[in-house]
């Protein structure tokens, strides 16, 4: 579904991605793990069209989307829940979710998806009219995921959805991701919490200073001694 090939991204003089390649097959959960600064966010931002790669290609559903502006990428069906949640604090919860569905015109279906998001995150329904900025960190993360879902994406990309959440909430978020996936949404998940991510994901890539240094099935990487040492604190 998504094919990233030999991606190079620079921030001024900083060579942040040095030839990243990865692929996300339809219907699966693929994860990208790695230490802080490895280039995980940059990879997602390049896919979403927020940063322009100097070299390499990104193909989505058979189309070259490498040079599309971010809003066109979103309209093609890639939804990114960015690092740090980035919900709209001045908009109500309901409006935040409506923003997620901005490019859609199928009103009846939007309402259905709204009900579905409220079902996934009942807390959001309770706070429907509150402005996003008044939510707790965990609720904001749920809102960010719900908002990303409202575009009914073919591919849902998430950048560290568990960051800063209490362990119980992390579990809740991961089980929701599993539920979303089982209903047919393909997921590309970036996580520092490698343990949980590798358990969830079918396939995983390990990123180090802008390069993919290891890849394989999630369960295999969990057993890999190098991974255990570097990312699972053993």
């Amino acid at each position: 579904m998504l094919e990233v090939n030999n991606l190079h991204v620079y921030y001024g003089g900083i060579h942040a991605l040095k030839g990243v390649s990865l692929s996300v097959p339809k219907g699966e959960i693929v994860t990208l793990v790695g230490a802080n600064g490895a280039g995980k966010s940059t990879t997602l931002r390049a896919i979403a069209g927020l940063v322009k790669p100097k070299e390499g290609t990104i193909r989505f559903l058979g189309q070259d989307i490498t040079h599309l502006p971010a809003y066109r990428v979103a309209q093609k069906g890639i939804s990114l829940a960015p690092e740090g949640r980035r919900i709209f604090p001045n908009l109500s919860v309901r409006e935040n979710l409506a923003m997620g569905a901005y490019a859609r015109k199928d009103k009846a279906e939007i309402q259905k998806d709204l009900d579905w998001v409220y079902e996934l995150f009942p807390r959001l329904k309770e706070r429907e009219r509150q402005s996003g900025g008044t939510l707790s960190g965990g609720e904001q993360q749920m809102l960010a995921i719900g908002r990303a879902l409202m575009s009914r994406p073919a591919l849902l990309a998430l950048d560290e959805p568990s960051l800063g959440l209490a362990p119980l909430l992390v579990k809740e978020v991961f089980s929701v991701l599993e539920a979303i996936n089982s209903e047919g949404t393909t997921i590309l998940l970036v996580e520092q919490n490698a343990n949980a991510a590798l358990k969830l994901a079918k396939y995983a890539y390990v990123l180090e200073t802008g390069r993919v240094v290891l890849e394989g099935r999630g369960e295999d990487l969990l057993k890999n001694s190098k991974v255990r040492q570097a990312y699972l604190g053993e």
């Binding site: 809003y71 709209f88 908009l91 997620g100 901005y102």
Partner: protein, 297 residues
């Protein structure tokens, strides 16, 4: 002071306040979205009065048609300024944008001086505005009835657009997080264009009414109203539309009341306006309805 005089002065204050509000909205919308003080906004207000002047006095259009055309043409000027001068600098340091805005302001003023001349022109005030109305024994000019009324209608319309429509929602989203708005599939360039169009059209409405009240137009006429409207936007909390509206009325009413109650100080009316600004900023630096810069972790 008699009751009649008080009512008249209050209406005068509401008139001036409504006009400041209409202009202030344009400053605050652009600032909210681009963090840019659009110094050219007062000049766009001036340009609108010339559009109306030529459409009515030279092309002899009926006023309603001239007014609608002026709104549209001025909106286009605003959009053009954004497209040509500001958009190419969107990712440059703020200071470049600010200096460009000052440049655009001088450019429009001087272009006007060269094309239409520096000499003031008499504005063809519509009859509606110039006739005297008798309101239960209190005699008032049409301006001081119609301007507060029309500006209120326009302000409510704008609030409706910003708070109750999809485009308005996107404007509020852009003002907080441009990148996240892009991720929602929103063409942000287009939203910014709409904001400039709306702000400029309101300035045009303000300009036509201003010129009806003070029926002399000249190329630098936008400078002082522009500054005061900007002050109103800051007093209300820059970036906040409701704030700009309230700020406009506060400044307008304060200015008129200064003249009415303290006529010996009327030479200081402008100083008084800026004193309000300093006072508000001392007590609440973010303006009356401005948010403090605290962020949730």
């Amino acid at each position: 002071m008699t009751f009649e005089v008080f009512i008249q002065q209050l209406l005068n204050g509401l008139t001036l306040g409504g006009l400041y509000s209409l202009i202030a909205i344009g400053y605050t919308m652009v600032y909210g979205i681009l963090q840019l003080i659009n110094f050219a906004h007062g000049d766009i207000f001036m340009v609108a009065t010339y559009f109306a002047f030529y459409l009515v006095a030279v092309f002899a259009l009926p006023w309603w048609a001239a007014a609608l055309l002026t709104l549209g043409l001025t909106a286009m000027v605003g959009v053009l300024v954004e497209r040509v001068a500001y958009r190419p600098l969107r990712n440059e340091p703020r200071i470049s944008l600010l200096i460009t805005a000052i440049g655009v302001s001088f450019f429009i003023e001087n272009l006007a001086i060269v094309t239409v001349g520096a000499r003031p022109k008499g504005f063809p005030t519509p009859k509606l505005m110039s006739q005297v109305i008798d309101l239960g024994g209190i005699r008032m000019s049409g301006v001081s009835i119609w301007v507060p009324l029309l500006s209120s209608v326009l302000l409510v319309l704008l609030l409706f657009i910003v708070y109750r429509t999809k485009v308005g929602m996107a404007m509020r989203a852009v003002s907080k997080d441009v990148e996240a708005t892009r991720l929602m599939g929103v063409n942000v360039d287009r939203i910014i264009m709409y904001a400039f169009a709306l702000g400029s059209a309101l300035a045009a409405a303000g300009g036509m009414m201003w010129a009806s009240k003070y029926p002399q137009i000249q190329p630098l006429m936008g400078v002082y109203p522009g500054w005061k409207a900007f002050t109103a936007a800051v007093v209300g909390g820059i970036g906040n539309i409701v704030g700009a509206t309230i700020g406009g009325f506060i400044i307008g009413i304060a200015e008129i009341m200064t003249i009415a109650f303290l006529p010996q100080l009327s030479g200081y009316r402008d100083a008084f306006v800026f004193a309000i600004l300093i006072l508000v900023l001392l007590v609440k630096p973010s303006g009356l309805l401005g948010q403090s810069l605290k962020e949730k972790v």
